[in-house]
């Protein structure tokens, strides 16, 4: 993991001190709310439906056990004993008091954490593949690049007042688990034909009210050119990005209005001016960062305990079938810890669970944890011989739900239960759908299928890219839920299509059940994924199932 330098520590401690002073001036009346609002947002402090919400950055989703324990302590001392992990690999406190936030920032700073750039029209906390540095299919670890981007973008004076927020994601795997195609900039680590390391750069992706698939701006960018190239993109966006209408201010609109060719021409022109300014110091920084991301000291031990347990314990076998991912070390595995237990709110975690998981990570995962954009926690480096013990410890903490990647592992934004932008609730719908599927014992029968729910058009629940997406809206004074089908967050990116009129809160679960039953009937075999069935047959048979003909009235 990256270790904070003295500079980093001084920076986050100073920001916490500055905010303490700003809070005091607001309370004293020296600052109006209008003056204070941008200052609190710069430190991740929002005002939502019930009160303040504090969004804490977890850059590229990487945590150690000390940091997880610190988050638990904060949630217990200054919040209500739970936190919410988001689709941007961040964590949110939903009940902090303004007067406590300076202390919370101090506590975060003491653990090399902060809430910087988790809000506002700036470059937001950078995200990355949650299996980074561990996955068997990875070309290279994306986290050093993500950390370089974090350092470069933090408090970057030129990009502190962009037209709108700006999100960058990095992946080192062709599988793209970082949703790069739907970020303002997506970076994919690649090699040239000659084996030179570099990046494929996509631009202009995004979800929200205008979902757009990012386009490749540069097929191969040499590694050393990354920062001048990013500066070039940001400069062009800063210059021609629209500021007259917030709904048209994201770079995806700049892309749509100008076209990829014109955008590329402008970026190349800016890049030509930027490149000479970078003398290689950034690459020296990158080399130092990379030194901090060396693989852990893998142990050598027998994996027989895993083989034996798997043979004799069907529940353990089921957990292994769904929640493990291939590690680059044959004797190791990656464990997905589902935060989607039956009856629980997706992404929520209680402090007791946080503490238990921190200890599990410290003992059995080389002290590393990851937050996934799928709102789960990852143990990235678990020796297979330790899996029975890990499974038992997860069970004791209520964290051994065997559903990673299955339909009940669904994503949901906080929705109208917390968010003041929301137009409908999302988490109760998520829980009700999961409960219905479980009650029908269909979870495993359905197989891999993603269901994503957003409580408004801003799409924090990524509904556009769910195989099944649900968008909560208000229609004539009540909650209404619109279904989309066919979204895909990976390199084969697709935006789900609306299937038809929305359903009321009391009907959406039945509609999803009809949709699922149709899929089970229509698929050629249990091996045909939902996406394949949809591609083969189109929307019509699913639409017919979702909207059955009404019974004639007698």
């Amino acid at each position: 993991m990256y270790a904070y330098s003295e500079f980093d520590r001084h920076f986050v401690a100073t920001r916490a001190q500055q905010f303490r002073d700003q809070v005091q001036r607001r309370i004293d009346g020296a600052l109006t709310e209008e003056e204070f609002r941008p200052l609190r947002l710069m430190n991740g402090l929002y005002l939502l439906l019930h009160g303040y919400m504090m969004r804490i950055a977890i850059p590229y989703g990487t945590l150690n056990s000390r940091q997880m324990l610190a988050l638990a302590d904060i949630a217990e001392r200054w919040d209500r004993g739970y936190v919410h992990f988001t689709t941007r690999q961040n964590v949110q406190l939903h009940w902090p008091a303004l007067v406590d936030v300076p202390d919370i920032l101090d506590a975060l700073a003491a653990m090399d954490m902060h809430a910087v750039q988790t809000s506002g029209s700036c470059i937001r906390a950078v995200t990355a593949d949650h299996l980074a540095g561990a996955s068997a299919d990875e070309l290279a670890d994306p986290r050093p690049t993500a950390e370089l981007v974090r350092q470069w973008s933090t408090d970057h004076p030129e990009f502190a007042f962009l037209p709108r927020k700006f999100k960058i994601a990095v992946t080192g795997s062709p599988a793209d688990r970082a949703v790069t195609r739907f970020h303002d900039i997506g970076l994919t680590l690649v090699q040239s034909d000659h084996g030179t390391p570099g990046y494929e750069v996509s631009v202009g992706g995004g979800l929200g009210r205008t979902p757009v698939i990012g386009q490749v701006l540069r097929k191969f960018l040499p590694q050393a050119d990354l920062l001048p190239y990013l500066e070039a993109i940001l400069q062009v966006y800063n210059e021609i990005g629209r500021r007259d209408n917030k709904y048209k201010a994201r770079i995806k609109i700049t892309l749509l209005e100008n076209g990829i060719a014109a955008l590329r021409q402008r970026v190349n022109s800016s890049f030509a001016r930027q490149q000479p300014r970078f003398d290689g110091a950034d690459q020296e920084v990158l080399a130092r960062i990379e030194a901090g991301f060396q693989p852990p000291a893998y142990k050598r031990a027998p994996i027989q305990p895993y083989i034996d347990q798997r043979a004799q314990d069907p529940a353990f076998r089921q957990f292994c079938e769904t929640n493990l991912r291939a590690h680059k070390q044959a004797d190791y595995t990656i464990v997905s810890v589902s935060l989607k237990s039956p009856g629980k709110t997706p992404g929520d975690m209680e402090v007791g669970q946080m503490r238990a998981l921190a200890l599990i990570a410290k003992r059995w995962s080389h002290d590393e944890l990851r937050v996934s954009h799928e709102q789960n926690i990852i143990l990235p480096h678990v020796h297979k011989g330790d899996l029975p013990a890990v499974y038992q410890a997860l069970q004791s903490a209520g964290l051994a739900t065997a559903n990673a990647g299955l339909i009940t592992d669904l994503i949901a934004c906080p929705g109208m239960d917390y968010c003041d932008l929301a137009t409908a609730r999302s988490t109760p719908v998520a829980k009700a759908i999961a409960a219905r599927i479980e009650a029908l014992s269909l979870t495993r029968k359905i197989g891999l299928l993603s269901l994503k729910i957003s409580g408004c058009i801003n799409a924090c629940g990524h509904h556009h890219v769910g195989h099944i997406g649900i968008l909560g809206l208000e229609k004539r004074g009540v909650e209404s839920y619109q279904i989309t089908l066919g979204g895909d967050p990976t390199r084969s990116a697709a935006i789900g299509k609306i299937i038809g009129p929305g359903f009321g809160a009391d009907e959406i679960v039945n509609a999803i059940e009809r949709l699922i039953r149709a899929y089970l009937t229509l698929r050629l075999s249990p091996d045909e994924p939902f996406q394949a069935t949809l591609a083969r047959l189109g929307h019509a048979p699913f639409k017919a199932a979702i909207y059955p003909p009404k019974e004639p009235t007698p």
Binding site: T32, E33, L47, L49, G51, Y52, R80, W95, D417, R425
Partner: protein, 97 residues
């Protein structure tokens, strides 16, 4: 002109705690909507709201909420705002204490 069984109350969030509050008849703030002063005229409600915006720095984001004759919000968003999240068992009154 609003209907005779429709009223408005002034709501905001408390600056220090962030809690949802409602303006009472003596211009203080209460966490309990039942203590809120109800206005039957939009003109009067907007005038009070303007005063709050201009003169009360200890609340944030004040606005008007439509309520029924019984004092309950008409829109589901405002109902959730006073009852708390529906997705977990948080005793809002106890937790707020």
């Amino acid at each position: 002109m609003q209907s005779p069984d429709q009223f408005q109350v002034v709501t905001a969030n408390d600056l220090l705690s962030g809690k949802v509050v409602f303006m009472t008849g003596n211009r203080t703030w209460s966490a309990d909507i039942r203590h809120a002063v109800r206005f039957d005229s939009q003109t009067a409600a907007h005038a009070v709201l303007a005063q709050v915006v201009a003169q009360d720095p200890m609340v944030v984001g004040p606005y008007l909420v439509d309520v029924s004759a019984t004092g309950m919000p008409l829109h589901f968003r405002e109902v959730f705002r006073i009852t708390g999240p529906t997705n977990r068992n948080l005793n809002r009154q106890n937790a707020a204490a």
